[in-house]
């Protein structure tokens, strides 16, 4: 297995009076797709936001490459090569598609070759280049959100439920795009509830429940082990019935 690009060791996160992450242990190998599975409220989004510095870990360490990034600010974490695609997509609806992309290229002018590749990957980005992002459909906004994350080369992309609420055709298109992105050796940490999608692109998997990682391993092993799937899903369901 490849070396770990991101490692969370005993990470706890409190939001107000709530203790959301309760000692998360997670390793994301370099160059593949790691899928974070779990029921609603398990702590998946909080894990991504904690990695990104949007919520601060109250205990534990987050290591990215050779550096501990636990106490860094969000812009510093971003500038170290981590991009974030939030669950709500985080599109600036008052800005055009072009302006959204321009802001995403934080380190200078957009690389035109890379932009052409993105437009090929997500055709609506080119079609609606000068349109207000607020007028895009949900799927197009999701594509813009991912496009923004990859306009500059990144070492790690955190993507939170990119298929949520999308039509099947758009989900398929999104899977194709993520597969192509995977070919560029970009490491992806993907939060996903759609197991079919997760299993089609994931290399490794971690399952969360109640603020803990309750399983981690290879995705193909989980796909092949129906009993384990039922055990993990059953645990989630039983715990909240």
């Amino acid at each position: 297995m490849a070396e770990n690009l991101l490692t969370l060791s005993g990470v706890h996160t409190h939001i107000g009076p709530y203790h959301i992450l309760q000692g998360v242990e997670l390793a994301v190998p370099e160059g593949g797709v790691t899928v974070l599975l779990g029921r609603n409220g398990a702590g998946k989004t909080t894990t991504l936001r904690t990695i990104m510095g949007l919520w601060t870990a109250s205990q534990g360490d987050i290591r990215f490459g050779d550096h501990v990034i636990t106490r860094l600010s969000t812009p510093e974490i971003s500038r170290r090569g981590i991009a974030f695609v939030p669950e709500d997509m985080g599109i600036f609806t008052d800005l055009t598609v072009a302006e959204n992309m321009l802001l995403a290229a934080a380190n200078g002018p957009m690389d035109q070759k890379r932009l052409a590749w993105i437009k090929e990957l997500f055709p609506p980005i080119g079609s609606f280049w000068n349109s207000s992002a607020g007028t895009l459909s949900g799927g197009q906004k999701q594509m813009l959100s991912v496009a923004r994350a990859i306009i500059e080369p990144r070492r790690l992309i955190l993507i939170d439920e990119p298929t949520k609420g999308l039509a099947p055709a758009i989900i398929k298109a999104m899977i194709d795009a993520l597969k192509e992105l995977k070919e560029t050796d970009t490491t992806i940490l993907l939060v996903e509830q759609n197991f079919a999608m997760a299993s089609s692109i994931g290399d490794t998997v971690a399952v969360m429940d109640d603020g803990h990682i309750i399983h981690s391993g290879r995705m193909d092993e989980l796909v092949a082990d129906v009993a384990l799937q039922e055990k993990l899903m059953g645990l989630s369901l039983e715990a909240h019935q």
Partner: protein, 342 residues
């Protein structure tokens, strides 16, 4: 990804919604037309309209910084009036130093003196804004009640500092020679200074719109107003942006202070807190955080205040509050509500 997999589609904005977006812009000419009918005399109407627009422009200058600060930083700054007053006093001092220039018959010397006074006021209030943001505002980001209390405290401290430096009395701030008197157009007399105020206000509005629409820092401000968290996730230090915007807003209040002082020709330590009532009304009418809304709101307030002062002086006392009530009943989020993701 194939082109056929996802057909490009854009959600069309219904015509009714498009018209609704344009409607606030029409309010200013509609109010002016209603004013003409009510006043009857075109000469009086022209005088009052220019006076209203000039007053509106000066309020816009003071309010524009406040609305952007609120929109971007989610900070309710009750201390904004302090920058208006300090700006006016600094402008007064500079104009007093340049008394020879202001008394000169040369228009160039007169305008140069005003320009230097404005630049000095903006520099001082901009730096004051830097200190205000770092010392008073930064510790209370995200806590509205504390913001109200500490910024009110900051306002009181600033007013007392004005007493210490310039004394407790009100001061007469006379306009330079070239800006005194009126131009007579037909039967209408229009004060020269009001035309200058309209010109400066318009230039500021066009400049602000240009910066917000066409520069990267403007894009960052607009993006930050909508979703500051995402701006940070893209790698931008939003706290630095906050500081730049706060200092700019404070400097604009200083500019407004000089303009307002020259308009009223009297300045006091409390002038900022007094004008803040109108400034807050304009910011609320416009839609908290919206520069365009703030501009239209300021024009409406300026025109209505002048028309009602002429037609029914007693009504003038409540006209701007009544305008705010009517606008909020029509659009509870203001004329141009700002979309916020947070």
């Amino acid at each position: 990804m194939s082109e056929t997999a996802i057909k490009p589609r854009i959600e069309e904005i219904p015509l009714k919604e498009q018209l609704a977006q344009k409607l606030p812009v029409l309010l200013v000419p509609v109010l002016a037309a209603v004013g003409l009918i009510a006043i009857g005399n075109p000469a009086s109407w022209l005088t009052l309209t220019v006076a209203g627009l000039a007053m509106g422009m000066m309020i816009f200058i003071m309010a524009s910084g406040l609305t952007v600060v609120f929109g971007l930083m989610d900070v309710i700054n009750f201390g904004h009036g302090a920058f208006v007053a300090v700006g006016a006093f600094v402008g007064f001092t500079v104009l007093a130093w340049l008394a020879g220039w202001t008394a000169s018959p040369s228009v160039f010397m007169n305008l140069s003196a005003v320009l230097i006074a404005i630049l000095a006021a903006m520099l001082v209030t901009g730096l004051l804004g830097l200190a205000f943001e770092r010392v008073i505002v930064m510790p209370v980001y995200g806590e509205h009640l504390k913001q109200i209390l500490v910024t009110m405290g900051g306002l009181i401290v600033a007013q007392q500092m004005i007493y210490v430096v310039w004394g407790p009395d009100e001061l007469h701030m006379s306009r330079p020679e070239a800006l005194q008197g009126s131009l007579v157009i037909g039967e209408a007399a229009i004060e020269k200074y009001r035309l200058v105020a309209v010109g400066i206000g318009l230039a500021l509005f066009i400049g602000m719109r240009h910066i917000l629409k066409n520069t990267k820092i403007g894009l960052l401000v607009r993006a930050g107003v909508e979703n500051g968290e995402m701006v940070e996730a893209l790698g931008y230090r939003i706290r630095r942006l906050f500081l730049i915007v706060f200092m700019t807003g404070s400097a604009l209040a200083g500019l407004g202070g000089v303009m307002w002082g020259l308009y009223q020709e009297t300045i006091t330590a409390h002038m900022g807190s007094e004008i803040m009532v109108l400034v807050f009304i304009v910011v609320i009418i416009g839609g908290l955080g919206s520069v365009e809304g703030c501009f239209i709101g300021a024009m409406l307030v300026g025109l209505l205040a002048n028309y009602t002062a002429f037609l029914a002086p007693k009504v003038a006392l409540i006209s701007t509050i009544a305008l705010m009530v009517v606008v909020l009943m029509w659009r509870p989020q203001g004329l141009y509500p700002v979309v916020k993701a947070k």
